[in-house]
């Protein structure tokens, strides 16, 4: 009896073990070792007529449904093509494990600048498909090419052409002008005008201070990216901006850079002093609330802030205002940084050609119309004129004299322990709390820049 019991126990334990170990091979091992055999694909063999395109997209404020509509349109226009979509708020976690074992989506809509840095990792690892030929593709159902339709400049940035070889690897998707947001109602009420130069800005800051209002607030230091890029364009023009973005030696000691640093450091002194305490993911809306409550005048932000704060209480007579950065001198250029999302194709995608067709379709009037319905605006010529309401005001910023700044710090091979954005933008908190001086800040930026220069792509 004992023996039988023993055998039965052993058998059941071994069975459970077998069941568990079966799972480990497939998914839950934290990282694949070189020796593990690739996962057997469970896909059914495809007949030549039906092709499957795998789309992975980050679910943003625009929602997941919009992609379903786009997919339906694409499938209708391309009989025999089926689009399998994965749309998720944490898309990196969903598609990550499969990618480690070599199973890649064909097309990924995920912008740079996300905390998990998936897109950056692909850029740094040279794992992207060249999409330059998409530009010369004819848009399905239309006569023009993709290049004809995209607003000039969007496919010449350090983001879309990360290796500086004239080739486009990431295609620009939804864009949004960024700049300074304020309560237009407050300025009207007080009889203040929107400053057009930084000198006027400081004068306004002093006036506001007398009324107990701070000049400046920022949601988190991360929002300084668009601010800083636009400012660099103002102080030194696009050429200087490009030099800075490529970590050119000595660039941070140049008079232009010093002027930019001076402005930010001075602005830190005019910043509402509770801002660093709330400058995190949990509480950043409190910093935005300062504008709505008339406790601060300006904040750097993007057009999404209107939706983000739509349910927040606000001061009487509140009206959103939006302006480009003030010029550094009378009559100087004013810039507004253009933030845009990207769509790209992994180098190891199985259906890269189909993915390219899909991307070309995204620039069709049909697709753009679907996106525009949820407020997602693509960089397509004349798109801005079709907008309504607040968006019309925001997207017309470039028609009102502001120049567009685009691009970001150039891609490098990963340099362990060095993050240029943490160094440049993150330190602003310390400037406000006076934990660090401007000299320390510039020194740290120079050090990070030196480290990254050697790793440039």
């Amino acid at each position: 009896m004992k023996k039988i019991l023993g055998l039965a126990l052993t058998a059941s334990l071994s069975l459970s073990l077998a069941a568990c170990s079966g799972n480990t091979n497939n998914s839950s091992s934290p990282a694949p070792s070189d020796t593990t055999t690739p996962v057997a694909t469970t896909e059914t063999p495809e007949t030549p007529e039906t092709r499957t395109l795998k789309l992975a997209a980050l679910e943003t404020a625009y929602g997941a449904d919009v992609w379903k509509e786009i997919i339906a349109g694409f499938e209708k226009a391309n009989p025999g093509v089926k689009v399998e979509s994965t749309i998720d708020k944490s898309i990196e976690d969903v598609i990550g494990p499969a990618m480690k074992s070599g199973d890649f989506p064909d097309v990924i809509h995920l912008a740079v600048g996300q905390p998990k840095g998936l897109t950056e990792t692909f850029v740094k690892d040279n794992n992207l498909t060249d999409l330059t030929d998409v530009l010369s593709m004819t848009i399905p159902g239309e006569s023009g090419t993709v290049k004809d339709k995209i607003i000039p400049g969007f496919t010449d940035t350090t983001i879309t052409n990360p290796y500086g070889d004239g080739k486009t690897y990431l295609m620009p998707m939804f864009y949004s002008p960024t700049g300074l947001f304020y309560n237009a109602g407050l300025l009207e009420q007080k009889g203040w005008t929107v400053p057009t130069t930084w000198d006027e800005m400081w004068a306004l800051g002093d006036k506001a201070k007398a009324d107990g209002i701070a000049l400046f607030s920022y949601p988190t230091t991360g929002y300084f990216d668009s601010f800083f890029y636009a400012l660099l364009n103002e102080v030194g023009g696009p050429e200087f901006f490009t030099k800075a973005m490529h970590y050119t030696e000595g660039v941070w000691q140049s008079p232009e850079a010093t002027q930019a640093f001076d402005i930010i450091n001075k602005l830190a002194a005019y910043t509402e002093k509770t801002v660093p305490a709330n400058g995190n993911k949990d509480n950043f809306t409190k910093n935005q609330q300062l504008i709505l409550d008339n406790k601060a005048i300006f904040m750097p932000n993007g057009t999404w802030v209107v939706g983000e704060m739509s349910k927040a209480p606000r001061a009487e007579g509140f009206k959103w205002g939006f302006t480009a950065l003030p010029a550094v001198k009378e009559g100087g250029d004013r810039f507004s940084y253009t933030f845009f999302e990207q769509i790209w194709v992994p180098a190891k995608a199985k259906n890269a050609d189909l993915a390219k067709q899909f991307i070309a379709y995204l620039y069709s009037d049909e697709a753009a119309g679907v996106f525009a319905k949820v407020g997602a605006v693509q960089p397509i010529k004349d798109m801005a004129s079709k907008l309504e309401g607040d968006n019309k005001l925001f997207y017309s910023i470039y028609d009102n004299g502001a120049k567009a700044a685009m691009g970001a710090f150039s891609t490098t091979d990963p340099v362990e322990g060095v993050s240029i954005s943490d160094t440049v933008f993150g330190t602003v908190d310390s400037l406000v709390t006076k934990a660090k001086t401007q000299a320390q800040w510039v020194e740290a930026i120079t050090k990070a820049s030196d480290a990254l220069r050697g790793a440039l792509k």
Partner: protein
């Protein structure tokens, strides 16, 4: 003889599943962390280059790593000492004194432990709010409302202690219940005889209670180290994001930032290795210095 052999085989087969599971899920992943720390790897694809111990050399030259090390160490020390002291005192009060609503108090103390870290972070973000927060409002009673509000989560010198405050609040209940459990085992007669001989409450606490729950205290010290390292990551992510300007960056938040945001997975794993060795070493040291002769009762 045959019976012994059979028994041995039986034990072997009974143990095998557990041992295999242990190896597959614990030993191999741990070794994998060590192995991956020697690669330069983005983490998302299968392209990686072997770089030997380079990741470690870089780590030891990184100011940011030392900053996160310092913060973690500070949290471990502060959270352990304060939580330990409070938990012990509360446990002793609840198990030795006759208080009204003892059971209710025990539940209240334990509640923070069942709340999610995100909820606790939200509660403490509200408490620490510079303008409308409870803490500043309370302090203003003494220092006057006109004085500058303290930035509990904005001042680099204070923020790490603010974080520790939330962690301590969360942990006390758990350790208190653990200490209470072992205090309940101490025979009442010891206290009675001590009282007859004129020993006061404090004296009893230090000469009877503490020595007799010493084994339990030693175990919890190891728990303190491990849980502070883990929980600090959750609190940092939910409350400060490592800010302002890296002032609350701890081991694991720095590791996460490097492994994912900075596309340096191998380097992140190197940090993981250091954390692993550090927590092991610290636990071992704590165990060694708290070694006492086991008291029987």
């Amino acid at each position: 003889m045959d019976i012994k052999k059979g028994q041995g085989r039986f034990i072997f087969f009974c143990l095998a599943p557990a041992v295999i599971l242990f190896i597959v899920f614990l030993i191999i992943p741990t070794i994998d962390v060590f192995r991956m720390s020697t690669y330069k790897w983005g983490g998302y694809t299968d392209d990686k280059t072997f770089v030997g111990l380079q990741n470690f050399t870089k780590l030891f030259h990184s100011d940011k790593f030392y900053q996160s090390f310092q913060n973690s160490l500070l949290l471990i020390i502060v959270v352990t000492i304060v939580t330990f002291a409070f938990a012990l005192v509360f446990a002793s009060m609840l198990s030795r004194e006759k208080l009204k609503g003892q059971d209710l108090l025990r539940i209240i103390f334990y509640i923070p432990n069942i709340l999610s870290v995100v909820v606790i972070s939200a509660i403490f973000s509200a408490i620490y709010d510079p303008n409308s927060g409870l803490l500043n409002a309370f302090l203003n009673l003494f220092r006057g409302a006109t004085s500058d509000s303290t930035l509990w989560l904005g001042d680099q010198k204070i923020v790490i202690f603010s974080l520790a405050g939330a962690m301590i609040w969360q942990a006390i209940g758990y350790y208190m219940v653990m200490y209470m459990a072992s205090m309940a085992n101490i025979p009442e007669s010891l206290y009675e005889s001590a009282e007859l001989e004129g020993a006061g409450r404090m004296h009893q606490f230090f000469t009877i209670t503490i020595p007799l729950i010493w084994t339990n205290i030693r175990t919890t010290l190891t728990f303190f180290v491990i849980s502070t390292i883990n929980m600090s990551f959750l609190f940092v992510v939910a409350m400060t994001g490592g800010g302002p300007d890296g002032a609350t960056e701890v081991f694991l938040s720095y590791m996460y930032k490097e492994a994912y945001t900075n596309s340096s997975y191998g380097y992140g794993m190197a940090i993981g290795v250091i954390v692993f060795l550090f927590s092991f070493a610290l636990a071992a040291i704590l165990n060694a210095v708290t070694k006492r002769e086991h008291l029987e009762y």
